[in-house]
């Protein structure tokens, strides 16, 4: 019987054709940030009643870094997600991905939302395989190498314990399982950037913590850059290298907090003083921001 992490390892071993294997301690390159938001503002609404959603925001995410964004509701966190992925163009400023200015949707991004956006007419496996049908270069290889991709998706499902549910429909799964499948779909094509928009918000506390561990494991192996938007401060501190606190609308960064808890983090670390200290710091800032 393999441990979870070993199984996770196996799922991604075949990954990067050619480039260096994504080792567990791949040092993030420091020279160029993967995501670079420069002085970005975004206005919602038409001319008559405009609303500033994001105000002159600067944000850098290093390659392989896990950043959590927290803030009071309505601070433009979800807008931030759309800006980073290029789904929404900024009204001023610019978004750079790997040093290139983003025009239109950015390639190589995985996204997961609070409501698992699994397609109800597809089985879990076929849902997880969706990115292969869309993202190049998988898209043009998909039909001829279907078996290989099925294998790949199944291996990933296995690492999150969903293999036996591969042929079930999403509505036959529990909320936690749906969310696991949802994260699998976001990661199966090995994106360099993962965007999580309150992915565990609708789950009960135990399931949520279970999925924190799953996310951490996947991240430790695959080392994609991650932006996690969440309401849950403990979730942010547990998972992230750096927590960013946004102010009430219009969203601006009011606090950046490095989380120097060694990895892999166990759930028990949430009861340690360093952890609660960081959570407290952040909570105070948010209370101030709502103020």
């Amino acid at each position: 019987m393999l441990s979870i992490s070993e199984r996770t390892m196996g799922a991604f071993a075949y990954a990067e054709g050619g480039s260096a294997p994504p080792g567990p301690v791949a040092t993030p390159s420091t020279e160029q940030p993967y995501v670079d938001l420069r002085n970005v503002s975004l206005v919602y609404g038409d001319e008559a009643d405009q609303m500033l959603a994001i105000d002159r925001l600067d944000l850098k995410v290093r390659e392989g870094e896990f950043v959590a964004v927290v803030g009071p509701s309505g601070c433009g966190k979800s807008t931030l997600m759309k800006l980073v992925t290029g789904l929404l163009p900024p009204d001023s400023g610019a978004v750079f991905i790997q040093g290139k200015k983003a025009n239109g949707p950015v390639a190589g991004v995985g996204m997961a939302f609070q409501n698992s956006t699994l397609l109800p007419w597809r089985s879990t496996l076929s849902n997880v395989m969706l990115p292969f049908e869309l993202v190049q270069p998988h898209r043009k290889r998909f039909h001829r190498h279907a078996d290989e991709y099925v294998e790949k998706a199944k291996r990933l499902l296995d690492t999150v314990g969903l293999l036996e549910f591969a042929d079930k429909f999403p509505w036959e799964l529990s909320g936690g399982m749906q969310q696991r499948a949802n994260v699998c779909r976001a990661l199966v094509h090995e994106p360099k950037l993962l965007m999580l928009d309150e992915p565990f918000g609708a789950l009960d506390a135990f399931t949520r913590e279970e999925l924190w561990l799953m996310t951490q494991n996947l991240w430790l192996k695959q080392r994609f850059s991650t932006i996690l938007v969440t309401h849950d401060l403990r979730e942010a501190v547990f998972l992230a290298d750096r927590v960013i606190v946004l102010s009430k609308r219009p969203g601006r960064i009011i606090l950046e907090r490095q989380v120097d808890i060694p990895r892999p983090r166990a759930l028990s670390c949430t009861f340690e003083s360093l952890f609660s200290e960081i959570v407290h710091d952040i909570r105070e800032k948010i209370v101030e921001a709502r103020g």
Partner: protein, 255 residues
């Protein structure tokens, strides 16, 4: 009550209610005595069906044929047009008011025009069936398409999906339950359309048969025609339900 017993009772319910209705009908029309000329008893209608079997059969086939063709055209056209207006806000804006105006026009008023254009016979019946059946299909298909979850669309776009991908991978599967719901309504409307047209201007079909029978004061035969149409409509409806169940199991959560 055990589960299987309950479901077997559910299964016989439609037959029970139909039987009760027929018995009541029989009692009323017997009680009416000579006035039952206007409301023939079910037994009398049944006898009329058997006696005039040779006339009813080809006319029923004719109605089934015009209805079926009109319905088939309505499905094809309704789907294409519904896809177009569901996928493009511009086409939606342009055509929706016209569609509503067209749907509000009484189709009885159109039949004489169709007759002028296509002559008496099968074609006007088909066109009338089409014109009644097409609207629910267009509206439902368009609704199914335009209610795609925006987050789902974001996920697709972030994976590099083009509009055609979103249409084929989300739009069309999502619209199927809406489409099948509309087929059930449309098939019955198609029967209404073809019989309507046959009644006004045709020399074949159940509508024509009923028209002819009523001018000869053969009331049982008029009712026989009604029963035949009703039976055909129920069968066609059931066929739609069967197909629906097959294609959209996910939408009913497999119940």
């Amino acid at each position: 009550m055990s589960k299987s017993r309950k479901s077997s009772i559910e299964n016989v319910m439609p037959w029970v209610t139909t039987l009760v209705l027929l018995v009541l009908w029989q009692i009323v029309s017997t009680a009416l005595g000579s006035a039952s000329l206007m409301l023939p008893a079910p037994t009398e209608i049944a006898r009329s069906i058997i006696d005039h079997y040779d006339v009813i059969w080809p006319n029923a086939l004719q109605t089934l044929y015009t209805t079926g063709l009109g319905f088939a055209f309505a499905v094809v056209f309704g789907m294409l047009f519904g896809l177009a207006i569901g996928a493009s806000p511009l086409i939606y804006r342009g055509f929706y008011p016209l569609l509503i105006a067209f749907n509000a026009v009484p189709k009885v008023a159109l039949v004489p025009i169709f007759v002028l254009w296509f002559g008496i016979g099968a074609v006007p019946a088909m066109v009338t069936a089409f014109s009644l059946a097409v609207f629910p299909i267009i509206v439902n298909v368009a609704t199914g398409l335009s209610t795609i979850d925006p987050e789902m669309e974001d996920v697709m776009r972030s994976l590099g999906a083009k509009r055609l991908d979103i249409l084929t991978k989300i739009g069309i599967p999502r619209m199927t339950p809406y489409l099948f719901a509309s087929l059930k309504i449309s098939i019955t409307l198609a029967f209404v359309g073809s019989v309507l047209s046959e009644t006004i201007a045709s020399n074949e079909g159940i509508g024509f048969l009923m028209q002819a029978a009523s001018s000869r004061f053969d009331v049982p035969l008029v009712f026989a025609g009604l029963i035949v149409i009703a039976a055909m409509a129920v069968l066609a409806y059931q066929a739609c339900v069967l197909i629906e169940g097959r294609f959209t199991r996910w939408a009913t959560r497999g119940k």
